[in-house]
């Protein structure tokens, strides 16, 4: 689809920019450091890529970054290329590489980056096809116009330049510039002698002082015009071919990255992927070393596609209503299910995982282990208490029962016990301090009264038995 446009770019590059050097005009060192034609190479390389980082392009083309940068700056001024400069951490830069890889392979390259807080400005560039089409057409129009004007003697309004202050005057200003004693025009500001500017293409033939010279000039111009048309014919043909086609549009850097990331992850989770990549970009943008949720998504894929969906769901859910930690829940608070953390069992498991995803990667791994051990301890203790409570609750009816729903969000597998009871029931909560162990005591306390006997009985039973 972009093929005719690429061809247009290549033709234009070879027609107009094949003598572009980055040297400047002061020291022509031919031979060793003659890099004419570099512009063509760069443009050709850009036709094979979309958004690309300038450093990467320099590496693949084996060019110096500074030279490439100068060339790209020149192209940006010629309106062939759009550039975007972004402040990113090294991580953000990796997101981009991932995006590129996704565009290339369709797979996600999950990188575990180290945290770098330094922010560098990365530059990206991309060909702007719609503009290129217009720019090339305008250039051709201007070339033809210049020659035709010369032929028709149209551009004959003389211009004058002051050599001192470089101020330009037109012949129209001559009225104000004259009327000095000597016979020259003087600059208004610095009184320097003005020099007539000869901008004519074919004005070299002098001295004949003849009609002939004029005719010769016309011949020369006509000849030039003809040669120009002939040499630019393939370009004009390509322009005509491309005229009706819609130009390939890559959008801004962020939009392109987002769409590429989404495509790269496959058809499964377009929504979450774009969210993730967007948020990642936002984070990369801000420059803070926040975690890249997309990368953590890679871990989650181990569990299968469903998990990811629910992970996204719970993320969305948690975005709307936060799960209140148990120590925040006071008695009599009108809380929704979500706030208490009462979720479906499956979702809970993944909710926990999603919750974990939101913390740092490294710390997360450690935390996981800590949490797991803690969880196991809690589990065992909880089960004991729960068993006791069940017995007690059988005896005592209509008691306010403690909900440990919210704490279960930290647990693995406690969900089973919770699912057996109190799903769908709002339960009052006691005041308590933080700490899981306090939960335990509280679990015991309210039930202690009615069950106190039970406990004692149990104790007594035990003691006895």
């Amino acid at each position: 689809m972009t093929e005719p446009f690429n061809r247009l770019v290549k033709l234009a590059a070879r027609a107009f920019y094949d003598d572009f050097t980055t040297k400047g005009d002061n020291q022509p060192k031919t031979g060793r450091s003659d890099n004419r034609g570099m512009a063509v190479v760069v443009l050709d390389a850009l036709t094979r890529r979309q958004w690309v980082r300038e450093e990467d392009l320099a590496k693949s083309l084996k060019l110096h970054t500074k030279q490439l940068r100068r060339t790209l700056r020149f192209f940006e001024e010629e309106k062939l290329v759009t550039r975007d400069h972004r402040k990113e951490t090294a991580k953000g830069a990796k997101i981009f590489s991932a995006a590129i890889a996704a565009a290339a392979d369709g797979q996600q390259v999950g990188k575990e980056g180290d945290e770098k807080t330094k922010i560098h400005t990365h530059s990206y560039c991309c060909l702007d096809y719609a503009q290129i089409y217009d720019v090339v057409r305008y250039r051709l129009h201007r070339m033809k116009k210049k020659l035709k004007d010369e032929l028709d003697n149209r551009n004959t309004i003389q211009e004058y330049i002051c050599p001192n202050c470089n101020r330009r005057y037109s012949a129209f200003d001559a009225m104000q510039l004259v009327s000095m004693e000597d016979e020259y025009f003087h600059c208004e500001s610095c009184n320097g002698e003005l020099v007539a500017e000869s901008d004519k293409l074919a004005a070299e033939e002098m001295g004949d002082g003849d009609d002939n010279s004029r005719r010769r000039r016309r011949e020369k111009l006509k000849d030039m015009l003809q040669r120009m048309e002939e040499q630019l014919k393939p370009l004009t043909l390509q322009l005509a071919r491309v005229k009706d086609l819609p130009a390939p549009e890559f959008g801004t850097l962020q939009a392109w990255e987002a769409s590429v990331n989404a495509a790269g992850r496959g058809g499964n989770n377009n929504g979450s992927a774009t969210d993730a990549s967007k948020s990642a970009q936002g984070q990369g943008y801000g420059g803070t070393p926040m975690p890249y949720i997309g990368e953590t998504k890679v871990e989650v894929t181990i569990f299968g596609a469903d998990v990811k969906d629910e992970g996204a769901e719970t993320e969305a859910a948690t975005a709307s209503l936060k799960v209140l930690p148990p120590w925040m829940i006071k008695q009599g608070m009108n809380l929704t299910k979500e706030q208490r953390g009462e979720l479906r069992p499956d979702a809970k498991v993944d909710g926990s995982e999603a919750y974990r995803d939101q913390s740092d990667e490294k710390k997360q791994e450690q935390k996981q282990e800590d949490v797991k051990s803690l969880e196991e301890e809690y589990l065992t203790a909880y089960y004991e208490a729960y068993a006791r409570m069940l017995e007690a609750s059988k005896t005592a009816q209509g008691e306010a029962e403690v909900s440990q729903q919210s704490t279960s969000s930290y647990l693995n597998g406690v969900s089973d016990t919770n699912s057996a009871r109190q799903v769908g029931m709002k339960v009052k909560r006691e005041d308590d301090d933080d700490g899981i162990l306090n939960e335990l005591s509280i679990v015991n306390d309210p039930n202690a009264q009615p069950d106190g006997s039970g406990d004692e009985d149990d104790d007594i039973d035990w003691e006895e038995g």
Binding site: T156, F172, D210
Partner: protein, 170 residues
């Protein structure tokens, strides 16, 4: 080029002129005010030919002046690009020469003077052909072509050439 057109103007008249010959006084004032002026839009007003109508006067508040809207026919002169004019040379310079075609000033730069004409400074600076046949100096008549017209609010200025066929002297 000359045009004959209808223009309108608001004239203010002092009460001392109110009387039986109010309209004549108004016409005289108009002619005095307008003839010889230049507007960018219409060009130079060369002459007022007829006063078409004089509207009802409006007394200005505060002063006793009365404003009359006056419609009048007049001849205007406006140069155009590509037009060929005859002009009289006023100033000869190394950079070219200045000429006047009626109320408008035209400048011809030496680039637009044929190459066989050389500048000769001296008592009477002039441009002369190599064989001396044609001489352009102050007060000579020259036919020139207008290349560009610059129109300010109240000023018109032109650039001309004598480099084409049938231009220049004779």
């Amino acid at each position: 080029m000359f045009f004959h057109m209808v223009l309108e103007r608001n004239m203010q008249l002092h009460p001392r002129y109110f009387g039986p010959h109010l309209h004549e006084k108004l016409t005289t004032k108009l002619v005095k005010d307008v003839e010889g002026t230049c507007s960018g839009k219409h060009g130079f007003v060369v002459a007022v030919t007829k006063v078409e109508s004089i509207g009802k006067g409006l007394i200005r508040e505060g002063t006793g002046f009365v404003t009359f809207p006056v419609k009048y026919q007049c001849v205007v002169f406006r140069p155009f690009r590509g037009e060929i004019l005859e002009a009289v040379v006023t100033l000869v310079n190394k950079m070219g020469f200045f000429a006047e075609a009626g109320p408008v000033n035209i400048f011809v730069s030496n680039h637009l003077i044929p190459d066989d004409m050389e500048f000769q400074s001296g008592d009477i600076p002039n441009y002369t052909t190599s064989d001396g046949s044609v001489k352009i100096q102050k007060d000579s008549e020259v036919r020139l072509k207008i290349i560009g017209v610059r129109v300010d609010a109240a000023e018109i200025f032109c650039i001309g050439t004598i480099k084409d066929d049938f231009l220049g002297r004779n």
